[in-house]
Symmetry: C2
Subunit: 173 residues, 2 copies
């Protein structure tokens, strides 16, 4: 996936106009035929996912948050008092990889690790005030710019149906 923190710095450069479309014609007159590729669910899934993440990155660029970072903040806000392993597991992030991720958020004072009093092995991860503020702003940006555009493209009913099917695939496939 292309959701680098570096890319977040100038995510606007990835705006639709300047970007090179995958199947775009190349001054050559004949675009290639996707053929059965367009019937492959996985292919369209990946393409759509890349596009959506790209737009997310762009919309939240002022706050310098990647989708993964945003999901961590959301989860921390919703589930106070949890440790690193619980947060990471819920998001499908491996514990070793979650360490550096938390380091990044903590160095920006968006969250903090606190030793648990019950179990002094675990670090309870808490949102800081700044973290809550950034999350609130991010939510607004996502709702107003990102999800709103998707709603506009698909229509509310289709969007809901899409979401339901994706969730179904993720959990029942």
């Amino acid at each position: 996936m292309t959701v680098s923190k570096a890319a977040a710095v100038d995510a606007t450069k990835a705006s639709r106009a300047a970007r090179k479309e995958p199947a775009e014609v190349d001054a050559d007159g004949a675009a290639l035929q996707l053929g059965e590729l367009s019937e492959l669910l996985g292919y369209s899934l990946k393409r759509a996912q890349l596009r959506v993440f790209e737009d997310f990155l762009c919309c939240v660029a002022p706050l310098q948050l990647t989708p993964a970072q945003f999901s961590v903040l959301l989860l921390l806000d919703r589930n106070p008092g949890r440790n690193q392993t619980e947060i990471a597991n819920t998001l499908g992030i491996l514990r070793p990889n979650f360490v550096a991720m938390l380091d990044g958020l903590e160095s920006r004072d968006l969250c903090a690790r606190m030793r648990s009093t019950n179990d002094r092995r675990s670090h309870i991860v808490v949102l800081t005030d700044k973290g809550r503020a950034v999350l609130a702003r991010a939510k607004k940006l996502v709702a107003a710019k990102h999800e709103a555009r998707l709603n506009e493209l698909l229509g509310p009913a289709n969007r809901a149906a899409l979401l339901a099917m994706l969730a179904r695939i993720a959990s029942e496939f």
Copy 2:
């Protein structure tokens, strides 16, 4: 994305039963609340995409093909006489990264590079007989095991609607 060639070797290990579900309960009784995360289209999109690729890898494991490799073979079959740049561009692969990918396929005798007679800079990429045979077998596996299961999960109408929306997002968002 986790579609490594190494993973393809033992993709079966990723079968549903043995895998650790992201939001699975951890012997601890309380699963975390996803909250607004479950309303984020990008989140479900990514989750579904990972799951679908995982299953694809598993279904095509006997042929040792990743989704990306399969897409290249499909494209070569459908668009004979094209050079590396055209194939790579269509799939959204950067030219430098496509070199190693082609090396892999060519070393397995699934395709071959031929110098173009018109433009001696370009390499026309052609499917070999073995490539065509592997592609044919892969198509059957994908249709019978992979796409069939998705059809079963969603139903044909929903599957078509999902595909249409994803394609819409990929191309118009």
